[in-house]
């Protein structure tokens, strides 16, 4: 059948070379993808067709046609390889073989194995912890069955030069929305009342309970809060009823059934327990143990101009199960403003809504999805401190970084060892291993390593979880590790990491040509160079250290900022300042208590006041300068009721004027402003000027104050915010008592103070704080970030150094003979250490150069969040760089010193 090639034809073929050639790259492409057994004929035909076309259509068009035909060959038929003539053993048999060999290899090179497994385990453990954290943050409020349809109404108000963003809404808004708009299925309003004294009726001893919340009876229609006993439909519909949590029931009633039992709040208000609900989930943006029926909240109802109620609405499902579009729905708020807010503004302020807006003021309502509240809301008067999506991003990035660094170690060490394994590959290939089998073997090895690392990592997570919880301020449990969200990730992680980390070494090692590696010596060095594996390794080391340096710089800056916050002069003295909570529960005896405590040795002065300079929920009130005719030009100020000793006790500074004094009888209508308030009011010479405000919600009566003093600006909110306008007035308001102490023997003093309290109010719980503690509380989030950053930076560096350590060990081993020869020829120990360390130092220096701008940018973004912040300075980068260099040097020097001190006789004996 077959015809012998024509001899003249073939000799002709070898003889004359062609002048014109098809495009080189297309030809290459063809060679690359067409299966070897087809290549010769296909390429031959293509070339023939090409050469025949050139005289007909010209070179350019022929080339274009050639490319087209090459591309048309991109079909499975052309790249499908011919099945092997010799069938490979079944996969399962091969897999056990892979495992066996992988296990032997791992055991043979224990040093590298330990470094690999430990490094990966730390990386994986970090990743798992952070995944837990991130999943927890993302899970907020999703426990609600209707979470995707619940929205909170937010109010943005611009008035009197103040721009305010509230998480709450006016009290009539919720009912009005329900009444006027059929899209609104239900609404619920919450009104948080802070910490109250609570007891069972008939008991004498109160307990302090945080987060007492008034709520509409519709609460349980909107939020998913399962009941233990009682009827959720009717629980809050009855006046004077309260729904308590399971743990609160336990605290107050023990094992008794609380349903129907009366409870006393603040020693005066009696509510009957109508339901017991399960404790609210941890991942909720608000928490409460007591929901009281809203109708009994002693609040002036129907106020469109005061924003006090956290209002949630449940939108009806729209077409095809999708919820009503909130953006579309929000347009209705314009109508609400015109219809309801406008008339009341007219009544109180005496101006129409249009004039009000023309004067630069604004009222705006908008909807925020429930599930966005925890991570995205940055409004004022939130029900509880929220998380921040920024930190979720940062932590995820850090986890990824650390895992990447660990993977890079893995790849780096594997590539570095390629010299040793090249021979193995060569022999295997000669013995008939196919490339795929080799890849399979190396992959098995890396997945096995990762699995071992994963087991170790799980152990680490279990051990580290309690401390991580403390750092992150969460209560995550190990049970969450096997939750349906987490488990798939947990299983996928080692496999993905194993394949990822193993892919490069597997493909790299299996690509060796047996003939080259088995010839040995120089030939191998050539292929190693041709693969540029050294360059790649350097690149990876640079990348690792770059990430480490970014983390170090980040840590330094976070810590500097925290120290800055903690040591910043906030305008009052916060050390040695004791505050006793709930003084109002003493009633008229509060003043007696103050006097009694002040008589104690070690107490310098004391004051009873409504507010303290720590963040808390307060009301702003509009003040008007005297003679200001337009009611649109009000200035929103906080007003704190204080006593005569307040400024003295807190050690605030007066810039002008005088403190409140008993010597002046008229001080009850005196007012002390802070510098910010003076600035907004625009007074040049403020002392003696007058300001007034409305004395009632309807705006009928006014109260006028005379400015008697100006207090230096002090920080009463987080340093993230600029200092706002504030005024102090004399008032019998008694939220807390504060005492300036001089004593160093605090335990004895505190016992004394408590004894005085118990004397006056044996049934009221005694609770106190030190101002610096509450101050630190404000920056808990930052401190958390600081601690987490420090921990992870340290871990990242540890892992990177592990890799460096292994690499240095390998390099030293490779160059044993060179070092031996050098020593014999008289090289000093120092010069050999230098020789070995130099290369690594270069890499670390490069990584510092790359990392600095990245760190500078990223940290600049973080600091943007603070109104008061540190500057990023050059020495921070220098310090980070020195740290990185120092650590790297320490790591490498261990190996180089070992190599340099080795007796050359040992290394050279075999030659």
């Amino acid at each position: 059948m077959s015809k012998q090639p024509n001899p003249t034809e073939s000799s002709d073929a070898v003889g004359s070379p062609n002048q014109v050639e098809p495009p080189r790259w297309a030809d290459r492409l063809l060679t690359w993808f067409v299966a070897p057994h087809l290549l010769e004929y296909v390429q031959g035909d293509l070339h023939e067709a090409f050469h025949r076309q050139v005289p007909q259509v010209g070179l350019v068009r022929a080339q274009r046609a050639y490319v087209r035909s090459v591309l048309s060959c991109l079909t499975p038929f052309f790249y499908r390889r011919r099945p092997n003539e010799y069938p490979s053993p079944t996969n399962l048999a091969m897999l056990t073989n892979y495992l066996k060999i992988a296990w032997r290899t791992l055991r043979k090179q224990q040093g590298f194995t330990i470094i690999n497994i430990f490094g990966l385990a730390v990386g994986l453990a970090c990743c798992m912890l952070i995944m837990l954290y991130v999943l927890d943050e993302l899970s907020f409020d999703r426990y609600n069955a209707k979470a995707d349809r619940i929205y909170r109404v937010q109010s943005d108000i611009k008035f009197g030069g103040n721009d305010m963003h509230f998480a709450a809404a006016p009290d009539p808004l919720g009912p009005t929305l329900k009444k006027d708009y059929p899209q609104v299925e239900q609404f619920v309003r919450l009104h948080q009342r802070g910490t109250w004294l609570v007891k069972r009726a008939g008991e004498t001893t109160n307990l302090r309970e945080a987060n007492i919340t008034f709520a509409d009876s519709t609460l349980f229609d909107v939020f998913t809060l399962p009941f233990v006993s009682g009827d959720p439909k009717r629980a809050l519909a009855e006046p004077n009823s309260v729904v308590i949590s399971e743990s609160a029931a336990k605290r107050h009633f023990g094992n008794q059934n609380p349903i129907g039992q009366p409870m006393v709040f603040e020693n005066t208000k009696i509510f009957k327990v109508s339901g017991v609900m399960r404790d609210m989930p941890q991942n909720s943006h608000f928490h409460s143990d007591f929901f009281l029926s809203m109708r009994n909240d002693d609040y002036p109802w129907g106020q469109w101009l005061s924003i006090n109620h956290h209002t949630y609405i449940l939108l009806k499902p729209g077409q095809a199960g999708a919820p009503t579009d909130p953006a579309v729905f929000a347009k209705n708020f314009d109508t609400i403003l015109k219809k309801y807010v406008g008339p009341q503004a007219m009544q109180v302020l005496g101006t129409s809504m249009e004039q009000f807006q023309k004067a630069g003021n604004q009222v705006k309502f908008w909807l925020l999805p429930l599930t966005d509240i925890h991570l995205h809301s940055k409004q004022q008067v939130e029900l509880a401190p929220n998380g921040d999506i920024q930190y979720v991003y940062i932590f995820s990035a850090v986890a990824l970084f650390i895992l990447l660094i660990a993977c890079i170690n893995f790849m780096n060490l594997a590539t570095a060892r390629s010299a040793n394994r090249a021979k193995e590959v060569g022999v295997r290939k000669v013995m008939g291993s196919e490339r795929q089998q080799l890849i399979g073997q190396f992959m098995t090895e890396s997945v096995l390593t990762t699995l071992l690392a994963m087991i170790l990592a799980c152990g680490m997570v279990v051990l580290a979880l309690p401390s991580f919880n403390t750092i992150a301020g969460k209560q995550m449990s190990i049970v969450q590790l096997v939750s349906p969200y987490y488990l798939p990730l947990l299983i996928a992680l080692p496999i993905v990491v194993g394949l990822l980390a193993g892919s490069y070494p597997a493909f790299f090692l299996s690509s060796f040509q047996p003939i080259k590696v088995l010839k040995g010596g120089t030939a191998f060095r050539n292929i190693n160079r041709s693969f540029k594996s050294a360059d790649l390794r350097s690149g990876l080391v640079v990348f690792q250290f770059m990430m480490s340096v970014v983390l170090i710089v980040g840590t330094i800056i976070v810590y500097r900022q925290i120290t800055y916050i903690q040591t910043k002069n906030v305008g009052f003295k916060r050390d040695q300042l004791l505050t006793v909570n709930g003084v109002y529960s003493l009633g008229k005896q509060a003043e007696t208590f103050k006097q009694e405590v002040m008589r104690l040795p070690g107490v310098v002065s004391g004051s009873i006041s409504g507010f303290l300079p720590t963040p808390s929920n307060r009301n702003d009130m509009a003040f008007f300068a005297e003679g200001e005719s337009s009611r649109n030009k009000g200035v929103n100020m906080q007003t704190w009721g204080v006593d005569y000793d307040y400024i003295k006790t807190l050690a605030m500074q007066l810039v002008q004027g005088r403190d409140f004094s008993r010597a002046f009888g008229a001080d009850s209508s005196g007012i002390i402003l802070n510098e910010a308030a003076v600035k907004v009011l625009g007074f040049k010479d403020p002392i003696g000027k007058r300001v007034w405000r409305f004395d009632d919600p309807q705006g009928k009566t006014q109260k006028t104050y005379t400015i008697i003093g100006i207090v230096k600006n002090f920080h009463f909110e987080s340093l993230r915010r600029n200092i706002g306008a504030l005024s102090l007035v004399l008032d019998a308001n008694s939220g807390a008592a504060s005492f300036r102490l001089s004593s160093t023997n605090l335990p004895t003093l505190m016992k004394e103070v408590e004894a005085r309290w118990k004397q006056l109010a044996p049934d009221q719980p005694f609770s106190y704080q030190f101002m610096d503690d509450s101050f630190d509380e404000m920056y808990r989030a930052e401190q958390r970030v600081g601690t987490i950053a420090l921990t992870f930076a340290a871990l990242a560096i540890l892992i990177a150094c592990l890799g460096l350590f292994g690499l240095a060990a390998f390099m030293a081993e490779q160059r044993t003979k060179e070092i031996g020869v050098r020593k014999v020829l008289g090289a000093s120990v120092g010069s050999i250490i230098g020789l070995l360390s130099k290369d690594f130092l270069k890499l670390v220096l490069i990584s510092i150069v790359i990392a600095s701008p990245i760190a500078w940018y990223a940290m600049g973004q973080w600091l943007e969040d603070f109104a008061y912040k540190i500057d990023i300075e050059w020495w921070m980068f220098l310090l980070a760089g020195l740290l990185a260099v120092g650590i790297a040097l320490l790591t490498v020097s261990f190996q180089s010193v070992k190599a340099a001190l080795m007796n050359p006789v040992k290394s050279l004996r075999s030659e």
């Binding site: 073929a13 004929y41 296909v42 390429q43 023939e48 067709a49 048309s72 060959c73 038929f77």
Partner: protein, 112 residues
């Protein structure tokens, strides 16, 4: 029976190979097809068809000589096998039967 099913291109290629006096390879088959049908065929289509016909046993192949035009690469030459010839005959017979079954007046009715 299934194996004998041929696509249109397969049938044409098989016919071209059968019609040529000697063994042929990709390029001449493509040229001949283009000449006969006036359609443009890509070399990849021709190759896939040739190899598929070989898999079905209608063509056999052997290594042929190289030419300069091909940069010294060899050709894979194709020839019709006995079963290839048989399947062509079968197809022709089947068509013949169908042709004969067409009533004479049909074409006249259609105006052809």
């Amino acid at each position: 029976m299934k194996k004998t099913i041929l696509g249109e291109l397969e049938e044409l290629v098989l016919l071209v190979v059968a019609a040529s006096t000697e063994d042929v390879y990709g390029v001449p088959v493509m040229d001949e097809l283009q000449r006969l049908t006036g359609r443009n065929f890509t070399i990849s289509a021709i190759h896939t068809t040739l190899y598929r016909l070989e898999e079905k046993g209608f063509l056999s192949s052997s290594l042929g000589g190289a030419t300069t035009e091909r940069g010294g690469r060899r050709k894979r030459l194709f020839a019709v096998t006995a079963s290839g010839g048989r399947v062509l005959l079968e197809i022709q017979q089947m068509r013949q039967q169908l042709w004969q079954a067409i009533p004479e007046r049909k074409f006249q009715l259609l105006g052809i």
